[in-house]
């Protein structure tokens, strides 16, 4: 068992956990956490792949950096949408007399 394989497998497991969470969870924040976990899993496999004993491949690092930024952007967008929906729900529920 090398470091590479260990983290690769861990990455796959994280990906699986995240996938399960995305599908099975209902709450939007939970879903986003799950997606981020998936992302971490993918990055982990990628970074593990970058390890070749002494040599470290810089390409995956750059890719992961890009991936992290994209992930945070996506997460932010999703949260923003969720909050907007929530806001609409609250205002409408307030408008309607009970």
């Amino acid at each position: 068992m090398t470091q590479d394989l260990l983290y690769s497998i861990a990455g796959i497991v994280l990906f699986g956990i995240g996938l399960f969470g995305v599908i099975a969870a209902a709450h939007i924040i939970r879903k986003l956490i799950a997606i981020n976990i998936m992302g971490i899993g993918v990055f982990m496999v990628l970074l593990a792949t970058a390890r070749h004993g002494t040599i470290t491949d810089p390409l995956p690092h750059a890719m992961v950096l890009t991936g992290i930024v994209v992930a945070v952007a996506g997460t932010a967008l999703c949260l923003w949408l969720a909050l907007q929906i929530h806001q609409l729900d609250n205002t409408t529920s307030k408008d309607q007399p009970q």
């Binding site: 990906f15 390409l59 995956p60 991936g67 952007a73 967008l77 609409l88």
Partner: protein, 507 residues
């Protein structure tokens, strides 16, 4: 110097939209923004046309080395007949939708967001079409996905926002699946360049897993049948030009990539069973999507479901091109057919969404059952809808007909008659749901039904011709496509083959 100018056109297809996006972020005047956008759209079309003219000199394939590094280390751009056709479709549609949007988004607040997002979406699309690098595709897909989500959310209603959110989640999930697949490929072959991958791939479990993950990701974004659930609400609730672009272009981008991976990059891994599996899903999409379109109550939802159904036709490509006795000539026929289908559907569907947008704007709703008498007060919109419908059903003379004809031809020549049955049945179902709308539109506005509370009296002012014309132009284009198929096919001829041939040559 000539070398220089032609080379430059390729990155410019991405650079220009980006520039347009930046300009429309910075500039805060509606008039300037729209006129600059139009200018950019025109220039972009010219660029693609120039590329189109230049491509024969380049033996049908065109590679551009960004940063001067070359494939494994740097990123290349590649364009061949297929991608050029998609680029052309994109630019033409962008130009028309651009004009439409000028009049459609008169609200300043929305327009402030629309134009940058619009151009970023276009940049993403163009980037995806000319991408030659697996990771680059990921970034382009994210661009497309997030921009599309933001555009869907522009409507601001709860349904639209929920649809956008769902779309965003699906998009992220799909991208991650795709990315994991790319990671596995990188692990196995140590390169991200598609052409290099194509030469190196062998059928191995790892490559197979990679193909699986990539396919799941892309299929999710393309909304193939069981994974289509996100599409109808998203496409139906977006603003009209966005709906048009989503249905016409966005789903096509991921399909185009799917095509590239299955037919070219990871072709050795593909087995007949998997290809047939996609075909079966496509058939299910045709039937189910059409059925759902027939049952739905809202016009835009109907069109969106129609997209689900029409996407099913695209997936006929895989069994038709990848199974059968002699793959090389067959694949060409099927690829040609599907490419033609993509164009025809893009034009028709965009036209349809624009027409629906006009109807929605003038009636204040798009409930199909309440569209009586539409023919009298929105004749142009209905005409647009009907012409586009003709193409969607696949009736001659229209682009849709030629496309369906080619598909059927490919299926019959391949001896896979069951797909013929499905496709023809799908055509009938399409006729059913389009006929349903038109039938109601032709009925007289029911005056006797006014006994109930007239909550939904549509505000029946005719929209300006401005809004009607772009859609009509697209619909006419979809029809005219049926008359002049030859030059598009000439362009396509051998593009995939050349791509395959040249893939090994580039190191």
């Amino acid at each position: 110097m000539t070398h220089f100018s032609i080379m430059m056109l390729l990155p410019m297809t991405v650079g220009l939209p980006l520039l347009a996006a930046i300009v429309s972020v910075i500039i805060n005047s509606h008039r300037w923004r729209t006129s600059i956008s139009t200018m950019f759209a025109t220039i972009q079309t010219l660029i693609v046309i120039l590329l189109l003219l230049a491509i024969p000199d380049a033996d049908g394939l065109y590679r551009y080395t960004l940063g001067g590094w070359g494939a494994p280390l740097g990123i290349d751009l590649v364009v061949d007949g297929l991608s050029l056709i998609l680029l052309l479709t994109t630019t033409v549609l962008v130009l028309v939708l651009n004009l439409y949007s000028i009049w459609y988004f008169s609200d300043v607040a929305t327009s402030t967001r629309f134009w940058p997002l619009w151009w970023l979406l276009v940049a993403g699309l163009n980037a995806a079409f000319i991408a030659a690098d697996a990771f680059n595709i990921y970034v382009a897909l994210e661009m497309i996905g997030l921009a599309a989500v933001a555009l869907v959310a522009l409507t601001g209603t709860r349904t639209a926002l929920v649809a956008a959110l769902r779309y965003a989640l699906v998009g992220l999930l799909g991208s991650l699946c795709y990315l994991l697949g790319v990671v596995l490929l990188y692990r196995a072959y140590g390169t991200l360049d598609l052409a290099q991958l194509a030469t190196q791939t062998q059928a191995s479990p790892l490559t197979g897993s990679a193909l699986c993950l990539i396919s799941v990701g892309l299929v999710l974004k393309t909304a193939l049948f069981p994974l289509h659930f996100w599409l109808p609400p998203a496409h139906a609730n977006a603003p009209a030009p966005v709906s048009a672009a989503l249905s016409a272009l966005v789903v096509k981008a991921s399909f185009y990539l799917l095509m590239r991976f299955w037919l070219d990059v990871l072709n050795p891994t593909v087995t007949g069973i998997t290809a047939n599996f996609l075909g079966v899903l496509g058939a299910a999409a045709i039937l189910w999507g059409s059925f759902a379109a027939f049952r739905t109550q809202r016009l835009k939802l109907l069109i969106a479901y129609s997209t689900v159904a029409q996407l099913g036709y695209l997936f006929m490509l895989f069994p038709l091109a990848l199974t059968g006795s002699s793959p090389t000539p067959l694949s060409n026929a099927a690829v040609t057919a599907v490419t033609y289908f993509i164009i025809a559907h893009a034009l028709a569907k965009a036209a349809m969404f624009l027409a629906a947008g006009n109807i929605l704007a003038s009636c204040g709703h798009d409930k199909i059952d309440k569209l009586q008498g539409l023919v009298c007060y929105q004749p142009l919109a209905l005409l647009t809808f009907a012409l586009a419908g003709v193409s969607l059903i696949g009736l001659p003379p229209s682009g849709g007909f030629i496309a369906k004809w080619l598909l059927l031809n490919a299926a019959i020549e391949n001896g896979q008659w069951w797909w013929v049955v499905v496709m023809l049945g799908g055509g009938l179902l399409a006729a059913a749901y389009i006929g349903r709308v038109i039938n109601i539109a032709f009925s007289q506005a029911s005056t006797e039904k006014s006994t109930g509370p007239m909550k939904t009296v549509p505000e029946r002012h005719s929209l300006q011709v401005n809004l009607a014309m772009p859609g009509l132009a697209l619909a006419m284009l979809a029809i005219l496509l049926g008359f002049n198929a030859q030059w598009i096919l000439n362009l396509l001829e051998g593009s995939i083959e050349l791509h395959l041939a040249n893939a090994g040559g580039v190191q």
